[in-house]
């Protein structure tokens, strides 16, 4: 890679490599850190309670060992890795963990997490499966239950004012992520996909204010490059669940492609949707997390009455990203045992066909050991579209 790394990107790399070191420092200074998994956890509530949300990550280089003695291997491999690191005490600085109803792997293993790990706070947020008037009402109640549970644990009332203030800070964060994504639009992009995903992953380990500062610095540093030092190559969109490591993206970029857009949890799915500040805070959060986070776990009724219309509605955001970032190919990266994404593979495939966008479907198991097998497929795909 011919990209220069300034101070901001060096910080990013350190936060990425030694994931959690800043949280550990803050814990030492008396802060409370609350871990979470999945894009469905309303971080604004955690933040408004005075704690710092911290996204629990997996590690594809770390073989899953201790985790497998407590959790079945038929669980999503990414989630197994997160659990494995947690039981191995990699996140010992956490005071608690919040798990949402993101998928069966999360739901069915909640007891294993909450009894198997030594934290004093656990909470499960139930996310409805549909988007309707009644489900928003329900979700608002569920968010209030979460709020009360945090209030009880931290002994602090979460006021609407505080919540509204925090919502604005998070919205700023989403704008800054947008600014990072803007840097992808040049051809070749000014920022590599590897740098961007590393930045977002680093950000998810920081207090939101620090993440905001860091993102600003990265944007400034990358902008200072003026023109891209990279060689032109096929522009790729990555679609799938949570990709909290850079290895797959790095592989694409080592082979001459550029990852310029995504529809992944640790990317656009999580960071693009903003919260409506004109609504009462809980109502606004319920709409953001239930409706705007576009995850296959949420059932969206077929309003079109046709298959083509249905996929256009369900995956329209992906098509919009592909257009906005001028993607020339897509990689649909799905974990083995992932029911929500797995069942959508034929429909997503049809959707990419309708966009005339070549797509490569990869099924993987969240392990560095499979990167060699992926290499040939990705290279062949790049040759195919290049």
């Amino acid at each position: 890679m011919e990209l220069t790394q300034g101070k901001a990107l060096s910080t990013v790399e350190r936060l990425y490599q030694d994931y959690g070191f800043r949280a550990r420092e803050l814990k030492g200074q008396g802060e409370k850190i609350i871990g979470y998994v999945c894009s469905f956890v309303p971080l604004e509530l955690i933040k408004a309670s005075g704690a710092i949300p911290f996204r629990i990550r997996g590690n594809i280089f770390e073989p899953i060992t201790k985790g497998d003695t407590l959790l079945e291997t038929i669980v999503c491999p990414y989630y197994r890795s997160c659990f494995d690191l947690s039981v191995k005490d990699k996140y010992e600085f956490l005071s608690g963990v919040v798990i949402p109803h993101g998928c069966d792997s999360m739901v069915r293993s909640f007891s294993t997490w909450s009894y198997g790990l030594p934290y004093s706070y656990f909470h499960f947020v139930n996310i409805p499966t549909v988007c309707e008037e009644s489900s928003f009402e329900f979700f608002e109640e569920e968010l209030n239950t979460f709020r009360k549970s945090l209030e009880k644990f931290f002994g602090k009332t979460i006021t609407d004012e505080e919540l509204s203030r925090v919502i604005r800070i998070y919205n700023e964060n989403r704008e800054k992520v947008r600014a990072l994504y803007e840097l992808r639009k040049a051809d070749p992009p000014l920022i590599s996909g590897t740098e961007l995903t590393m930045t977002l992953t680093a950000g998810s380990s920081l207090p939101i204010e620090e993440a905001n500062d860091l993102f600003d610095q990265v944007v400034a540093e990358v902008k200072a490059r003026g023109s891209s030092p990279l060689k032109k190559g096929p522009r790729i969109l990555i679609d799938g669940a949570c990709l909290d490591h850079i290895e797959l993206i790095k592989l694409v970029e080592d082979l001459g492609g550029h990852v310029v857009a995504d529809a992944i949890c640790n990317g656009a799915r999580d960071h693009f949707p903003k919260t409506d500040v004109t609504l009462p805070p809980i109502k606004a959060l319920s709409q953001r997390y239930l409706d705007k986070v576009n995850c296959p776990k949420t059932y969206r009724a077929n309003k079109a009455g046709t298959f083509e219309g249905d996929i256009a509605n369900r995956f329209g955001d992906i098509g919009a990203y592909a257009k906005e970032f001028k993607a020339e190919g897509a990689i649909l990266y799905v974990y083995k045992y992932c029911d929500p994404f797995g069942f959508e593979v034929p429909a997503r495939k049809a959707y990419y066909q309708s966009l005339n966008l070549p797509m490569l479907h990869l099924e993987d198991i969240y392990s560095a050991g499979t990167m060699g097998q992926l290499r040939t497929r990705i290279q062949a795909f790049l040759e195919m579209i290049g």
Partner: protein, 467 residues
Amino acid sequence: MAEEQKEAKPKKRMTATKAAASIGPMVKEFITGTLQARAEGKQKLAYTFIVCHHEEIFRAMDVVPIWTENFAGICGAKRDAERFLQRAESLGLSRSLCTYALCGIGFDQWREELGQMPPDAPWGGMVKPDFMISSGQILCDPRSKWYQASQQFMPDVPIYNIDLPYPLFQRDQDHREVLGYYHRYIVKQLRGLVAFLEEQTKKKMDYDRLRELVDLSDRTWNLIEETYDLRKAIPCPMGTGDAMNTMVPINFMMATQKAYDFFVELKKELEEKIARGEGEVENEKYRLMWGGGLPSWFALTDFNYFNSKGASFPVETTYRMVAPLKEMDLPETKDPIEHLAWRWLGYWTFWYDKARKRPGSEPDVERLINRIEEYKIDGVVMHEAFSCRTWHVGLIWQLHQLAKIYKPIPVYVVGKDGKKEKVYRELPSLILESDIIDITSYSEVDTRNKIDAFIETLESIRMNRAA
């Protein structure tokens, strides 16, 4: 297309009860019934899932349910699922996903491509529905993804997805605090289903009839409890092998008189067997609990294998989708929909209070402990089906936790000083690994070796106890 041959016909499992033996024809009858209803065209047919507490609504509206999980199970039991699974795979669906759903989607795609049933479809096949009622639950992701995936091949068939959550057990939280809004939501969801069915059938719901049906299934729930409680007898008159048959009226025929009558008969039969001192196995040596996981439908004869070693299964946690209503303390209501919603919540939170009282316990663990005591269980057998996270994640942990908090069986061993000492041992357990319908995941030799080793463990414990 890939080789579309059937596997060799499986051996029939021997049943202990006449009632269980009558199930096969019963299932065949309701599958034939769906084919007939489609031919006659008078009733609407709907794909749907078990354990949604909506059977009463279906029956009251005269909608014929097509239990898609059941059909996949039949394909599995007939060892004829592979060709449908392969179809699904060729569409790009991973074999690691729910194989019931893969089998169903593969079947649907094939039927729609042909415009008729796939060749030699098991029991005449699964008919194209008029609509599909899926269910997003806290139970199972594939339930809201399966029909959506099938709809690609029949876009003219509408889906209505009902959301039926229940509060997950949280140690530091009283679930009663949230039941109110859960109930309000479920009621709205079920009313939404009624409205959808009214629109589809062009009929109005007859709430008196609904009330009667709800009453009928409530009575059936209680009757099932009383019937299954009889299996506490020593020797046990009916095992889990049979219960994998008698799950049919519980799960596919609820809110019908036939289901009620079935349990009247079964109860009578069990009472007679108990009076005669007749057990599932001739010389009952070990009493085992099927403590988790759906069975491998193609290998139900494994239960006979257990039986041949003197092991009986008086109780299981699987498919016993009822709980004693009288112990639930459900709020009184005249509105049958409201009642269904309370019953739903009552069922899922049934073990919560008990679990909260025992340190380290949790509802699934608590249920195991209670059943171990009530049914005098010597060992626990579980099955981990690779394709289903819903019922098969958390089992290892449950056994860990069980061993940690529950050591009820005293064993006397000779201590260092030569005196007998009383120690508490863990309950032996066995986890079998395979799948619900994917036979390629199964090895009879390995399974039976595991069973043999487990029986040896039970035997050595028995000898110790006798000493």
